[in-house]
C-alpha cells in the first residue's frame, strides 16, 4: 500500500519547511514525522518524503541510513535502549544489558515475536551522572540497577 502523510502531518511538514531557506533541510524533521506515523521507514515512505519535499529520493535515503535513530525495520512497541558506555558500564550497565537480553532472549536490534519489545545497546545518552540508565521509547529511566530495570520492564503492558 502506498504511504501517505495524514493531513495533520502534512501541516507539520509545512511548518518544518518554514524553518529553513530550502526544503531539503526539512528532511530530518520529515523523516521523524514519517517514522512516527509509520513506525519505520520503508522504500515507499522515502518516496513520499521525497515527493512532499520535492527532493531526490537518494537524498532521503542517504540521510535515513546515516543516523541511528531512523529505523528501516520495525521496532517493538517498547523499544528498550540500554546505555553501556563508560559511565554506565562503571556502574553495572553490562549486568543490565545481559539481564535484559536474557529476559527477552533477544539480540541487539531484534524484536520479540509478538512485536512488543525490541532491544538496542546504545552509546552515551547524556545521563552519565545518573548512571546506569535505560530509555524506553522516548523516556529516560536513571539511577537504576538490575532489579529496578526489571520492575520497569514488568510494568510495560
Amino acid at each position: 500500500m502506498k504511504f501517505q502523510f495524514t493531513e495533520e502531518n502534512l501541516n507539520r511538514i509545512e511548518a518544518a519547511k518554514r524553518k529553513y531557506p530550502n526544503p531539503l533541510a526539512a528532511v530530518m524533521d520529515t523523516i521523524y514525522i514519517a517514522q512516527e506515523q509509520n513506525g519505520y521507514i520503508t522504500d515507499e515512505v522515502m518516496e513520499e518524503i521525497a515527493n512532499v519535499l520535492s527532493i531526490d529520493k537518494v537524498n532521503v535515503l542517504s540521510v535515513v541510513t546515516f543516523y541511528t535513530m531512523y529505523h528501516t525495520k520495525p521496532v517493538g512497541k517498547y523499544h528498550i535502549q540500554v546505555c553501556t558506555n563508560v559511565s554506565c558500564m562503571l556502574r553495572g550497565a553490562y549486568d543490565i544489558w545481559e539481564g535484559v537480553r536474557e529476559k527477552f532472549d533477544l539480540d541487539n536490534m531484534h524484536v520479540t515475536q509478538d512485536g512488543k519489545f525490541s532491544l538496542e545497546e546504545v552509546e552515551c545518552m547524556g545521563a552519565c551522572g545518573y548512571a546506569p540508565m535505560i530509555a524506553v521509547n522516548e523516556d529516560f529511566f536513571e539511577n537504576l540497577n538490575k532489579e529496578k530495570v526489571f520492575e520497569i520492564l514488568d510494568s510495560l503492558k
Partner: protein, 440 residues
C-alpha cells in the same frame, strides 16, 4: 558561590520568574550598544567555549565578516554526545530563557537573523521543554518580528530547534552544519572556516549551549566582573559533570580552576568504599586519562589540565576506582569511536576499527606486548591525519591510557610481572608509587 549558568532560583525556567529576576534586561541593554562593543566586551571577559576546544568566544565572533550580502547564521551546539557530558540538558531544563536571551544577544552581535539550536535526538524530553520555552518567548514578543516593539529596536531574529537523530559526529561543527542542511553529517575540510563558508555557504558562528548561556550575565554585570571569576586565563564558572565511581555523581557549577580532587572528594563525596582512584578522565572520553597519582594539585581549567597532560574538554569527569579493569574501559571507548567514525578518512575509519580489534584480541587473552606498541603506533598515525578532530578523540584515549598504565596492560598480555600490591598505579595523597618504580 554565585552561579551564572544555573542560578539557584526556584522556577527560574518559568518566564515570569525569569522576568522578575531581570530576565531579558541584558538583551535590552545590548540593543543600546554597538555590535562591536558587545564583541569587545565578550572578548575582554575572557569567555572561552564550553564545547570542548575552549576557544575564545569573542574572538570567534569577530571572525564574522562585517560587510557581506549574504545572510548570517548562528548555530547553538546542544548535540551533547561526548560520553561523560550531561550539562546542556540541565540548561534546557532549568534555565531555557537565559539560553534564549544569550542567543538573541549573540545574533545581534554577529548580525545573524536566524539561529538554529541543534539538540541531540535522544533528548526528546528536553527538546519539548526547550520548544515550549521558545514558543513562550515568541508569544511574549522576545523573539521574531515582535522583538522590535518589545526592545524598541530595528533588530529581530528567529530561533529554531533542529533535532539530531543519533550521530555523535554531528557535534563536530561542520558536520552539525551539514546535518542542519539536510545532508549526512560529514565533517568538512577546513579551511574555509564557518565564519566564511558555513550554513548554505553563508557566514556562520557555532557555539556550545553553555557558552551562549553565559552571555546575558556578561552583558549585565560587565566583562571585568566575569574575568575575575575562577582561573584568570579561563574565567567563569564551568558545569562539571562527574560520574563513575563517586558517592554523589551529578552536575556541579563551580568556578573554573577548582581543584579536581576538591570536586571528587568534597562535592562528589569521594569514592564508594573509600577505595583508591586508579584513573580519571577529566573532560569526556576524548580527553587523555590521568593516573590516580597525577591528580594532586590539578585544577579544572584549560591551562592547568594541559600542563597536567590532559584537556578540559566538556568538563565531564569520569572516575574509576582501583578495581576497574582499564582494558575493558579502553575497549569500550575504542568501540565507541569506531562506531561513530563517519568513515570519510581512511586513518580514522580503518584505524578505529583496528584499535578496537586489537584491544578485543588482548581482552580474549590472545594479545602480546607488541600489540600494545602497535596500538600506540596506530593511534599516532591517526592523529593529525584526518579531516576532523574525531581522529584525535579516538587516538588520545588509546595512546595515553596505554602509556600511562603500561604495567596494567602488560598484565593483560601475559607478561609475568609481579605486582605485590594489587594496585600500585593509583592512589592519592602521598601514597602513590611513581610509575618509574612500577616499570622497574
Amino acid at each position: 558561590m554565585e552561579k551564572i549558568v544555573l542560578p539557584e532560583i526556584q522556577n527560574y525556567n518559568q518566564i515570569d520568574v525569569y522576568l522578575a529576576n531581570g530576565g531579558f534586561e541584558s538583551a535590552r541593554k545590548a540593543f543600546t550598544q554597538t555590535t562591536d562593543d558587545i564583541i569587545d566586551q565578550v572578548k575582554k571577559s575572557g569567555l572561552r567555549g564550553r564545547g570542548g576546544a575552549a576557544f575564545s568566544c569573542g574572538l570567534k565572533w569577530s571572525f564574522m565578516p562585517k560587510t557581506t550580502d549574504k545572510p548570517k547564521y548562528l548555530c547553538i551546539n546542544g548535540d551533547e554526545s561526548e560520553p561523560g557530558s550531561f550539562k546542556d540538558r540541565q540548561i534546557f531544563e532549568d534555565n531555557p530563557f537565559q539560553l534564549i536571551e544569550g542567543a538573541i544577544i549573540t545574533c545581534y552581535a554577529i548580525g545573524a537573523r536566524v539561529a538554529y539550536l541543534y539538540i541531540r535526538g535522544e533528548y526528546h524530553k528536553w527538546i519539548k521543554l526547550m520548544q515550549s520555552a521558545i514558543d513562550e518567548a515568541y508569544s511574549r514578543g522576545f523573539l521574531g518580528a515582535k522583538m522590535k516593539e518589545t526592545f524598541s529596536t530595528d533588530f529581530s531574529c528567529e530561533l529554531y530547534i533542529h533535532k539530531g537523530a543519533g550521530a555523535y559526529i554531528c557535534g563536530e561543527e561542520s558536520s552539525l552544519m551539514n546535518s542542519i542542511m539536510g545532508l549526512r553529517g560529514y565533517p568538512r575540510v577546513k579551511p574555509p572556516f564557518p565564519a566564511q563558508n558555513g550554513l548554505w555557504g553563508c557566514p556562520t558562528t557555532i557555539n556550545n549551549v553553555e557558552t551562549i548561556t553565559n552571555i546575558p550575565a556578561i552583558i549585565k554585570n560587565g566583562w571585568e566582573w566575569f574575568s575575575k571569576i575562577g582561573a584568570p586565563k579561563h574565567p567563569g564558572t564551568i558545569l562539571f559533570g562527574i560520574s563513575g565511581h563517586v558517592n554523589k555523581p551529578g552536575l556541579y557549577e563551580l568556578p573554573s580552576g577548582t581543584l579536581l580532587t576538591d570536586i571528587i572528594f568534597n562535592y562528589a563525596d569521594g569514592i564508594p568504599g573509600n577505595k583508591k582512584i586508579k584513573c580519571v578522565i577529566p573532560g569526556g572520553t576524548s580527553m587523555p586519562p590521568l593516573r590516580g597519582d597525577q591528580l594532586e594539585g590539578v585544577r579544572m581549567d584549560a591551562e592547568s589540565l594541559k600542563a597536567a597532560g590532559s584537556s578540559i574538554g566538556t568538563g565531564g569527569i569520569m572516575v574509576m576506582d582501583e578495581d576497574t579493569n582499564l582494558l575493558k574501559v579502553l575497549l569500550r571507548i575504542a568501540h565507541f569511536y569506531h562506531h561513530e567514525s563517519c568513515g570519510q578518512c581512511t586513518p580514522c575509519r580503518e584505524g578505529t576499527g583496528w584499535m578496537e580489534k586489537t584491544l578485543h584480541r588482548i581482552d580474549e587473552g590472545k594479545g602480546s606486548s607488541a600489540d600494545l606498541d602497535l596500538l600506540i603506533s596506530v593511534a599516532n598515525n591517526i592523529e593529525g591525519n584526518t579531516i576532523c578532530a574525531l581522529g584525535e578523540a579516538a587516538a588520545w584515549p588509546v595512546k595515553f591510557m596505554i602509556e600511562r598504565f603500561r604495567d596494567e596492560f602488560e598484565k593483560h598480555v601475559g607478561k609475568d610481572i609481579s605486582i605485590p600490591v594489587p594496585n600500585k598505579v593509583h592512589s592519592m595523597r602521598g601514597t602513590a608509587v611513581p610509575l618509574e618504580d612500577i616499570q622497574k
